[in-house]
Structures are given as C-alpha cells and as structure tokens.
C-alpha cells in the first residue's frame, strides 16, 4: 500500500519536473515581456512589479510587427494550400496507378530523395536565381519555395493514407457514372480527411517556423516573416530586452493557439511528419 503510494508520488514528481522544464523558459519570457525595460535591466526581479503593455505596443507602433505577422500568415496559408492541392493529387496517382516504364515508382523515389535533401544545400542557388529573376524580397518567392518543400511532405504522408482506402469504393462510384477524378474528389478525398488534417498541421507549423530561406530571400517588412522580424530585433549592440521578449511571445502565440485548436490531431500529425 505504502509502496504503491510512494510509486505514485515518484511518478507525479517526475511528471511535474518534466512539465516545469518544458514551460518555465516560456513563462520567463512572458514575465520579462510584461516588465518595463528599467525593471528588466536594473532590478533583476523574478516577477514583474507591475504589468506593462509597453513592450508589445512598441512592436506594433514603429517596429512593423503587424507586417511581419501578416506576411507570415499569407505565406504560410497560401503555400500550404497550394502544396495540399498539388501534393494530394500526385499522392493519389502514386498510390493508385501504375504508369508505363515504372514511372510512378521512379517519381515516388525521387520525391522522397528531395524530401530528405537538407534545404540548406539549395539556399545559395535559390538566392542567385531569385536575384536574377527580380524575385528577391517578395512574398511570392517564399510562397513558391515553401509550396515546393511542402509538396514533397504532402505526397509522402498522403500516399500512405490513400493506400489504406479500399479501391472498391471508387469502382462503385465509377460504375454509377462518375469519372475517375470525380470519384477521387467525391469519395476518396473525404475519406482521407484525417490525413489531410494531420498533413496540413505539420506543414503549417514547419512553414510558419521557417527561418533560413526567409532570412536569405527577404530584406524589408514588405516580405519579411515573423522569425526574420524577431531576429532583426537582436544583433544590435544594445539589446532591447523588453521588445525582444515581447516579440518572442507574439511569435510563439499563433503556434500555441493553433496547437490548442488542433490538439486532437497534433500528436498524430507531428509523429507522422517525423516518421510516417
């Protein structure tokens, strides 16, 4: 009896320690963002003496944080939508058709190789190409690049979802007069909805968080996304700690809210995105 109670106590202590380790750094950032800069630099207090919204106001008045967030949402939304549309169709073909000369298998393998390629290897040529084409510092350049990266992920994840759907259902629909594409749209897609949700979550988080390509391809608030905007606050000689912590909170907020909204599918999406 006491042994099992001791066990339960040890379990609770371990779980609590893990939770503390995971969220204490984030809470510290939140607390810092609510202090005045004077309190941050001179008083080294743990908890703010009085809460102030000044750091947040400074981000949006004069520092263009609204523009960064808008860019992030536009770029993420469009590139994920494009990738889901194109990737789903391609994944369906790879899951259902055998093309002459083993073309489908060849394409599937190539897409997997591209997915495994570290993006950093093409950052230099992409920059040079964007420069030549006059695409530097546009939302379009980021949308195209992200849509492409996401397409390979979508194909990879959705193919296995389509394989799990019995082909009889499409046949039945086609006997009833559907074309193959209508059968795909009307029958297969709705059945693959959980897969679409998981894939969408994974790609949306990865895209919103992307930094390297955004850093290289954009240079003004006309196209810079949130991670780049937050990073530009740093690197000066005098760090504005208050603004920096507020930027961190604002940057993390959409992701945290999003993850609460999709909580039910989140773990599945993240695990699948990593391992499949």
């Amino acid at each position: 009896m006491t042994a099992s109670r001791l066990n339960r106590l040890a379990w609770a202590a371990a779980a609590l320690a893990a939770i503390l380790f995971a969220i204490a750094p984030l809470i510290w950032m939140l607390l810092t963002s609510l202090k005045t800069n004077r309190e941050i630099t001179q008083e080294t207090s743990l908890v703010p003496a009085a809460l102030t919204p000044d750091n947040y106001l400074s981000l949006f008045n004069g520092r263009q944080f609204g523009a960064y967030l808008t860019n992030s949402v536009i770029v993420t939304g469009l590139s994920v939508a494009i990738a889901l549309a194109l990737g789903t169709m391609a994944a369906y073909v790879l899951a259902r058709f055998r093309l002459p000369g083993g073309l489908d298998r060849y394409v599937g393998f190539s897409l997997l190789m591209v997915r495994l390629l570290p993006p950093v290897v093409i950052v230099i040529p992409i920059f040079l190409l964007a420069q030549q084409l006059g695409f530097l510092n546009t939302q379009l350049s980021l949308i195209v690049v992200y849509a492409t990266f996401n397409v390979t992920i979508v194909v990879w994840m959705m193919e296995s979802f389509f394989r799990e759907i019995p082909v009889d259902l499409e046949e039945a629909a086609m006997v009833d007069g559907d074309t193959r594409f209508t059968a795909f749209r009307r029958i297969v897609l709705p059945l693959a909805a959980p897969g679409l949700v998981a894939t969408g979550i994974f790609t949306a988080i990865a895209t919103y968080n992307e930094f390297l390509f955004a850093l290289v391809l954009t240079s003004t608030p006309a196209a810079e996304t949130m991670p780049v905007g937050a990073a530009t606050l740093i690197g000066r000689i005098n760090v504005d700690w208050g603004a920096m912590s507020a930027a961190g909170v604002i940057g993390a907020l959409p992701i945290v809210v999003f993850s609460v909204l999709v909580q039910k599918h989140l773990v599945r999406g993240l695990t699948m995105g990593a391992v499949k």
């Binding site: 391609a90 058709f97 390629l117 397409v151 194909v155 074309t179 991670p227």
Partner: protein, 302 residues
C-alpha cells in the same frame, strides 16, 4: 488502352476513356514541375556554382574542384565539422535518454496524461528563432533568468554566453529542451505498439521492473530508437536558426556549426563558390545518414 492499376487490386477493372487516360499525368504534373523548377534545377545550378569562382555575385570562371580542395585544407571548415559532430552527438544522446524516460513515464492512457503530453511537446513546435530568444533571456549575464535566480540567492551571475565552453553547452541544453519532445513522441508511439504478451509473462514470472525493461522493453524498442536517433541527428546536423539568434557562432568559433559557417562564407565573406561546395559536402553526409535511416525504416516496416 486503359491504364493498368496496381497488380493484385481489383482496380484493374477500372476503365476510363478519353480524359481518364491522361488523368494521372495531369494530376502528377504540377507537383513534379514545382520540384523540378525549385529543387532539381537549383541543385544543378548549385553544383555548377560549387566549381566556380565568383566576383560581385557573378560567376567569373570555372575552377574545377578547387573549392572542394579548399574545404579540405580549411582549418575552420574542419573545426566547424568537429563542433557540429560534438554538438549532434551530445544533444541527441541526452535527448534519447530523456525522451525514453518520458515515454516510459507517460505510456498510459487517461485525460491527465494526454494533457501532460500536449504540454510537453510545446518546445518542439515553438518557432526555432523564438527558442533562441527564450534562451538568450535565460543565459544573459545581466538580465537572464539564471542571473536573476543567482541574484535572489545572493550568488554572482553565471557567465554562459561569454566563454566558449559555456556557450557550447548552452547550445546543447537549448537543443535538448527543444527536441527531447520529438524523441519522446516517436519512442512513445513505439512503446504503445509493442506486443503485450512478453510483459504479461514477465509479470507472471515475478520479474522486477528493471529486468523487464532490460530484457523486453529495450530489445523490442531498439529499431524505433535507431530510427528516432537517426532522424533527429539528420536534422541536428544542419541546425542554424537557434545558433544565429543565440551566439552567431561565437564566442570565437565555439558554436560555429557547419551551416553557420557556410552562411557566413556566403553572405559575409562573399565566397559563393566555396560556400556552395561546403554545403554540398554537408548534404552528402546528410544523404548518407538518410539512406541509413530509410534502410532501417524499410527493415522495420517488414
């Protein structure tokens, strides 16, 4: 002629006419076009750049394999590779041990456990740049969390980002904080898909918790651990964002990971060809590791 579907599926009965015959190509085309234009073509351009000499961002002439030779003679490149290897090895090892512990701790069902899991994965979904900010706010010697704690306890502030060892370990801790959740998630999935029988038998035999873990859990989980470690190591090899925010590679070269060095070679030193060659060498390493991971997954899938 109608398109044959996968053998063994009844789909061979599907017969389409007209549009249906070209349908697979229409559906596959746009995705392939994107990948060809945005990945494959730049890849070849990059390969060309890596054998070229640039001036003011323009390819002046080809220099063959000189850029690759330069990489092998460059002590900073060797240093960056070594730092990256140390970083990946230390971070991934700690993440695996902690992730396995968490997975064992939380491999049960219930609303509370689900809530705890959802909380624990927060670090891995927070934007990496923000993670960099979070840890600057912890390490900063004047305003950081550690400094404030030390102040409250009457101790002097710890100096972390101002010395090489401190900064390197600070980066390892950052990575452990951010990515232990990923190892946790993958290993949890592995634990939850393990067969129950060996564990029931061990219980009947009266085996201790530790013996059960060593005799049954670890061997059954081994393939999953290998996959998880390889996947995480591949990603860690090209860590960039967090270092960019936390230390920019400094002080000195103590946290100069390979991607940071490549970035600086390109954007600060304007050595386009050399930077491209360096990144190709790194990608080759990553692809080899990926091949290893795929072989593992393929074996596990059978």
């Amino acid at each position: 002629m109608a398109l044959p579907t996968r053998p063994g599926t009844p789909g061979a009965a599907l017969r389409g006419a007209g549009l249906d015959r070209v349908l697979p190509y229409l559906m596959l085309g746009p995705a392939i076009f994107l990948v060809l234009a945005v990945v494959v073509y730049p890849l070849f351009e990059g390969l060309r750049s890596s054998t070229g000499f640039f001036r003011f961002g323009r390819l002046v002439r080809s220099v063959g394999l000189d850029n690759y030779r330069q990489a092998f003679d460059d002590p900073l490149f060797a240093q960056a590779l070594l730092t990256t290897a140390r970083f990946v090895f230390l971070a991934v090892t700690i993440e695996t041990v902690l992730g396995l512990g968490l997975a064992l701790l939380l491999a049960r069902e219930g609303r509370l456990v689900r809530r705890i899991r959802a909380t624990l994965i927060l670090p891995m979904i927070v934007t990496p740049v923000v993670v960099g900010i979070v840890f600057r706010l912890i390490y900063a010697s004047d305003v950081g969390l550690l400094a404030s704690l030390a102040h409250a306890l009457g101790l002097s502030s710890p100096q972390i980002l101002s010395n090489g060892d401190g900064a390197f370990w600070g980066l390892v801790v950052l990575d452990v904080w951010e990515w232990t959740p990923l190892l946790f998630l993958i290993l949890l999935a592995g634990i939850q898909s393990m067969p129950i029988e060996p564990f029931e038998a061990a219980k009947v035999d009266g085996a201790s918790g530790w013996r059960t873990f060593v005799d049954h859990t670890l061997p059954l989980l081994r393939p999953t651990i290998l996959v998880a470690v390889t996947l995480r190591a591949i990603e860690a090899l090209t860590t960039f964002d967090q270092v960019y925010v936390l230390t920019r590679g400094g002080p000195g070269t103590s946290t100069q990971l390979i991607s940071i060095y490549g970035y600086q070679t390109f954007f600060q030193f304007q050595q386009v060809g050399y930077a491209a060659a360096m990144l190709f060498i790194v990608s080759l390493v990553v692809l080899l590791a990926s091949g290893f991971a795929i072989a593992l997954m393929w074996r596990r899938g059978r």
